[in-house]
């Protein structure tokens, strides 16, 4: 299923020369715009509408159903409402940092999608260190959270920022170590290679997706990912009943939209990583690749919402204990075992 990255496909489609740098730059920008728009559309659907509908289904309610079919036009209404609100800047906010934080939170998550193969040739770039790049961009959001927490000049924001750092440190390492076990299986950091390595059959019609090959690593990764995107039981940096809204307490209007958007893109990026390295990327029968890919990331989104509706939040010290004493040990053991098994069999 090796296909040319998106800019080349676009250049060929328009009959332009793929070897010209200028053409490639323009085509890359167009490609980035397309992928960005696709992900933002998903986020727009998820944030104001799907999230409400899903939570309502879990909690015996109906949720939005007044505007448009199935209440879908609430997306437009919410956009207008949120964007037309007053932007309140707290007294004593650390200005450039306070303004930059929402941008960082939203944009870094979007960057990660550049190397994700979404099927049907939709992949902006396919560098050899694709997986490392994805993890790097996903982790950058923490910087935004700390900036937001520290620059807001609010004690709740400050606590939220501190919690965010503590949480991400505790979970980033198990997350990456578990991801590394997949790299040992696939023998490559390149995303397309990892996807390609999952296409053989494992037993009968069951493909050798790493979720089936190593379910243990899959579960570890799912849990670490919940902490990474900050959803129950690990929504500690926001913890509405404890520290109001954590790092985002002081953000309103457009900035709030950016922070909120960033969170949802982050969930989808987590879903995209899981889909790519554990669920065979865009692979699937009958339907086109991109559709399968979207189904998989929405599946992960549904999982996070399920957890959010049903699972209590752990305490920050308990989370750090689980992270450092439990998850880290397990993910190291997983890595070691994988290395031994792969070393023996190959």
């Amino acid at each position: 299923m090796q296909s040319a990255p998106l800019p080349e496909t676009l250049a060929n489609l328009l009959g332009l020369d793929p070897n010209s740098t200028a053409v490639m730059i323009v085509m890359s920008l167009i490609g980035a715009g397309l992928i960005g728009t696709l992900m933002m559309t998903n986020t727009a659907l998820a944030g104001p509408w799907a999230k409400r509908k899903i939570t309502a289904a879990f909690t015996d309610r109906i949720a939005v159903d007044r505007i448009g079919p199935y209440g879908l036009f609430i997306i437009v209404a919410d956009a207008v409402r949120l964007l037309s609100k007053e932007l309140i800047v707290p007294e004593g906010a650390d200005r450039p940092a306070w303004d930059l934080a929402p941008l960082i939170i939203a944009s870094t998550a979007l960057l990660g999608f550049a190397v994700i193969p979404m099927g049907n040739g939709i992949q902006l770039a396919d560098p050899e260190v694709g997986l490392a790049y994805v993890f790097a961009t996903a982790s950058m959001a923490s910087v935004g959270l700390v900036m937001a927490g520290y620059a807001s000049n609010n004690k709740y924001s400050f606590l939220g920022g501190l919690r965010a750092v503590a949480q991400n440190l505790a979970y980033e390492i198990p997350l990456i170590l578990t991801g590394a076990s997949v790299v040992i299986f696939a023998g490559s950091l390149q995303m397309s290679e990892i996807v390609a390595a999952q296409q053989q059959s494992l037993i009968g019609p069951l493909p050798s997706w790493y979720a089936f090959v190593n379910p243990f690593a899959f579960v570890l990764f799912l849990i670490a990912n919940l902490a990474e995107v900050g959803r129950n039981p690990f929504d500690i940096p926001e913890a509405p009943t404890e520290i109001v809204a954590g790092y985002q307490t002081e953000y309103s209007s457009v900035y709030f939209v950016l922070v909120y958007l960033g969170e949802f893109i982050h969930i989808f990026l987590g879903g995209a990583i899981i889909a790519t390295i554990f669920l065979g990327g865009p692979a699937g029968p009958v339907l086109p690749g991109i559709v399968w890919f979207l189904i998989k990331i929405w599946g992960v989104f549904l999982f996070t919402q399920w957890a959010r509706s049903a699972v209590p939040r752990v305490r920050i010290d308990q989370l750090i204990e689980i992270g450092w004493k439990g998850m880290l040990v397990l993910s190291l053991a997983n890595l070691l075992l994988t290395a031994v098994i792969v070393g023996v069999t190959v």
């Binding site: 879990f58 606590l159 129950n232 509405p240 009943t241 959010r308 209590p312 305490r315 308990q318």
Partner: protein, 560 residues
Amino acid sequence: MSLEKPSRDTALDVGVTEDGLDYDALADLLGGHVLDREEHLNAEGFVIRPDEVQEVLSTLKEEAGFDHCACVTAQEYDDRYESIYHLRKYNDPTQELSIVVPSPKDDPHNESAARVYDTADWHEREAYDLVGIDYDDHPDLRRILLPETWQGHPLSQDYNQDQPQIVSLREHANPLEDDKRSEDDPDTMFVNIGPHHPATHGVLHVETVLDGEQIADLEPDIGYLHRCEEQMCQQGTYRHQIMPYPDRWDYISAGILNEWAYARAAEDLADIEVPEYAQVIRTMAAEMCRIASHELALATFALDVFGDFTAVFQYGIRDREIVQNLLEDLTGQRLMFNYLRLGGVAWDLPEPREEYFEKIRDFLDDLPHKLEEIHDLVTGNEIFQMRCVDTGVLSPEQVKQYGATGPVARGSGVDYDIRRDDPYGYYDELDWNVVTEQGGDNFSRVLVRLREVEESARIIEQCVDLLEQWPEDDREIQANVPRTLRPDPDKEIYRSVEGAKGELGIYIRSDGTDKPARFKIRSPCFSNLQTLPEMSQGEYIPDMIASLGSLDIVLGEVDR
């Protein structure tokens, strides 16, 4: 019989005899401290000197076993001020004694009881705030319900209600100003949790000093919802104007329990006998209120621990809705029931009766299944247990020191339930159990509430059986009560019922008119909230929030 109290070891205390309390023996114990003896309707009152309060109270606590200072009532007479300490025993609340402390009109002050009973701390602050009595040797005598800048004491005789409160803006510039407490220690941070915060269940302000995320010091600041409830009752007539008001104290579906507190005190004061049929209806309606209140307590506690409007919250609300509908059928109202009357209830069960009984039975039949669901989702959840077991621990000694009652006391293993220990209504005729848990932590308090829902369901079931078989010509819902009720002058009474949150007591002094001369509300939430600093010292913020949730306070009742 299930209502038998497991062990009564009050027999060793001074003054305890087979047929009740021997006040002469108690007077002998105190010797010359007793200046005079008064007859209150619920107990005798010993008049003592204002500078001997600590000595008298600690003697009574240590040697006569009065371990529960239920309430402190302060009031002003034409010639003196007076503080009354209503003492009881956790083992047997029918053994009561009032300690009456008069103090001079021109300079009202008496010794504080806060060194003997921790609970007196807040009660005396309230007395100082509203009536204006100074308490010597009080650890922290400040206003508690009214703002620091308030002028005058609203329940004192010379207070002019029409006088506007003129306070300069400078004095009021920032009431939430940073506390100086954190400045001494650079490692700590002062945080105002509330008055507007998602987890304070109303307008509670918790001044918190944090060391990292751990709580170094904490002080609840109340009074944001003070609505002059005692004064409102003092201006209403016994017969008609007071009864609708208790619904507004604990406004979270515990209305009938509150009404009953007033009804019990006033009926005993005016010597009104309530027909049995009405008592059964009252008992049934009160237990419905208890279920509704406990369901909501569980729902909001889950909200605090789960962290969002999650499934548990909605399930709690869903189940409460059914009880709410039953109460609506009975009383015509969903929250402000106004159903009880002095001497009975407002009207009989809704017609057709069979249909109503059927509805109640359907609810009771579904209840075990629903509780099972909640147990699966909440108490069986390992993360929930991780959060709640061994957090917010309150020892039985602390419970008694702070005068905590209700599910908070029973969660710490203090077996105290007014319904059984000081029976009223129809409770002593029915078969049910008092629920206790030994843990004293947040988890125990949740379990107690869940199990009490089951017990309430048992009570309702028995009431329905009784009501169904009640002969038609004997359905008397209201005793004969004069149109205008004027109890004899200078009668005093303190009576309590088991409200949803604990011992809800009312003190009334009559002066011969159709309105009470003094109306004092002993709110269980007020006393329970005092335990919060003990519970959360050294714990993390999330545990403090959970403890606050497990106390199940309603600010309308705390601030009154």
